[in-house]
């Protein structure tokens, strides 16, 4: 029996009000795999993550986690099933301290012990945060905010991470470092990652498979090796 994929989405249709953004998207993420979603603005990348996580309603289509279908997903249910989501641009609670952000990341954890244990583990991965636990998150640099946003999600030791453009707002030289960190986390804590990114060449370096979204439909899906050479990438992406 092939390994049940962590996440299975079948012809998902969703959008905002009158505007249909996703016009039947099917993807699946294996248990310890990094799947990158690339595509132009307005192609529906962010909408896809929001629909999967239950922040916006699914108009049509099916979604299943580890084989079990989820009728109308909502964030609390998804978190309970080990799925964590980091919104676009590494959003953090700017008016709360770094430690408080981490505590909010684990707000759905039942016991105090698992919360402190989760925070310890997350902070070990990002030593730079260890020194700034009492700083308000708004004062952190772009790179530090990215680390904090990621660790907020890691407090729950999720099995699947949904990341929306973690490189947004980062200085160019920090981008590859940030994406390497995500690769590290995926392998170390055996977490599947569904990552939406604009910086295509950088994300291809860490992704096992890649999907190209164009106008709400998957226009290409396959191992990222296929897109490494420029001409194929240009033809598919531009």
């Amino acid at each position: 029996m092939p390994e049940a994929s962590v996440l299975e989405v079948k012809n998902l249709v969703s959008g905002y009000g009158k505007r249909e953004v996703l016009k039947g998207v099917s993807i699946n993420v294996a248990s310890i795999e990094i799947l990158a979603i690339i595509g132009h603005n307005g192609a529906g990348k962010t909408t896809l993550l929001k629909a999967i996580f239950g922040l916006i309603p699914i108009w049509e289509g099916e979604l299943s986690l580890n084989g079990g279908t989820m009728r109308s997903p909502n964030p609390i249910e998804m978190l309970a099933h080990g799925v964590a989501y980091v919104p676009q641009g590494n959003r953090v609670f700017t008016e709360l301290t770094v430690r408080e952000n981490l505590e909010m990341g684990g707000v759905t954890l039942r016991s105090k012990a698992s919360l402190t244990e989760g925070i310890e583990r997350a902070v070990d991965m990002f030593p730079a945060l260890k020194l700034k636990l009492h700083r308000t998150a708004g004062t952190l640099s772009g790179g530090e905010k990215q680390m904090l946003a990621l660790s907020n999600a890691l407090v729950l030791s999720p099995r699947l991470l949904l990341l929306d453009e973690p490189s947004l707002g980062l200085a160019p030289r920090l981008v590859s470092e940030a994406l390497m960190r995500i690769k590290q986390i995926s392998t170390d804590s055996r977490t599947a990652v569904l990552i939406v990114e604009q910086k295509v060449r950088e994300v291809l370096k860490i992704a096992d498979r890649v999907c190209v979204l164009r106008n709400g439909r998957v226009s290409f899906s396959g191992p990222s090796k296929d897109l490494v050479d420029e001409t194929k990438l240009r033809e598919v992406y531009l």
């Binding site: 009158k18 505007r19 249909e20 953004v21 132009h40 603005n41 307005g42 641009g89 772009g142 453009e165 947004l168 707002g169 160019p172 981008v175 604009q198 910086k199 295509v200 060449r201 950088e202 106008n215 709400g216 420029e230 990438l233 240009r234 992406y237 531009l238």
Partner: protein, 249 residues
């Protein structure tokens, strides 16, 4: 046709430089496309040029007229019309009312005109004919009496473009005119932009779909982190490594 340019334009939002010291002369009667990754400052540039956001430093010029400090509606009345990334229209009123709202210099819009109605009826007729002519140009004539909210998304995008034309602006700044629009509607919008340029209008548009840029842009500006990475004719610019770097890095 007056020149349209900005000099030494900079703007940062709580520490992050969205626009860094831009000097751009937008070629008149041409279609210029601004491309660049998310967060490159494209929308901010349009907001600065149309007075919706004040620059920290630098100036914008329409011909010799310094329009930097003017209110957005003053700049619009000088002939610089714009659309918005999140589609903006008055959805609760008919298509024709949106167009009539856009018509400039209406005597009926003064309090005296509204109360005494002298010559307002004639003026309304003239504006109505012009509005219907423009709706015919964009192919929405038979939708004139429908509520704007009842139009499809693509048709609404077309209507925002038509509203810009109704203001009699010579300079059009379009923020993602074909994003998320059905391909044949996108072709319609791109063709319309081409005809408007042929009529002498200066068109500046933000776009992510490089194939659309390749098809109709006379001039391309690659923006990344608030700086111009490259600019020039599309054939030349789109092949250059910087554009790939900016986009795919």
């Amino acid at each position: 046709m007056e020149s349209f340019r900005c000099k030494g334009l900079s703007k940062s939002f709580d520490g992050v430089r969205a626009i860094a010291d831009l000097d751009i002369e937008f070629p008149s009667s041409e279609i210029t496309s601004i491309i660049g990754p998310n967060g490159a400052g494209k929308t901010t540039l349009i907001n600065l040029l149309t007075g919706f956001v004040r620059p920290d430093v630098g100036r914008c010029f329409l011909g010799e007229h310094d329009i930097t400090r003017l209110a957005p509606d003053r700049i619009a009345r000088l002939g610089v019309a714009r659309t918005f990334q999140d589609l903006k229209l008055i959805l609760q009123v008919p298509v024709l009312d949106n167009m009539m709202l856009a018509r400039p210099h209406q005597a009926g819009e003064t309090l005296i005109g509204a109360l005494l109605r002298i010559g307002v009826a004639k003026e309304e007729m003239r504006n109505r004919d012009e509005a219907i002519r423009l709706l015919r140009l964009v192919g929405l004539e038979e939708k004139a009496t429908d509520l704007a909210g009842e139009l499809s998304y693509g048709q609404q995008k077309l209507l925002t473009l038509a509203c810009c034309l109704a203001t009699e602006a010579q300079i059009l700044l379009l923020d993602e005119p074909v994003a998320g629009v059905h391909p044949d509607m996108a072709d319609k919008i791109l063709d319309l932009m081409r005809t408007l340029r042929d009529e002498g209008k200066l068109i500046l548009f933000i776009e992510h779909d490089i194939s659309a840029v390749r098809r109709i842009a006379d001039h391309v500006i690659v923006l990344d982190h608030g700086k111009v990475r490259a600019q020039g004719p599309p054939r030349e610019v789109l092949e250059r490594p910087e554009i790939m770097e900016a986009y795919l890095a």
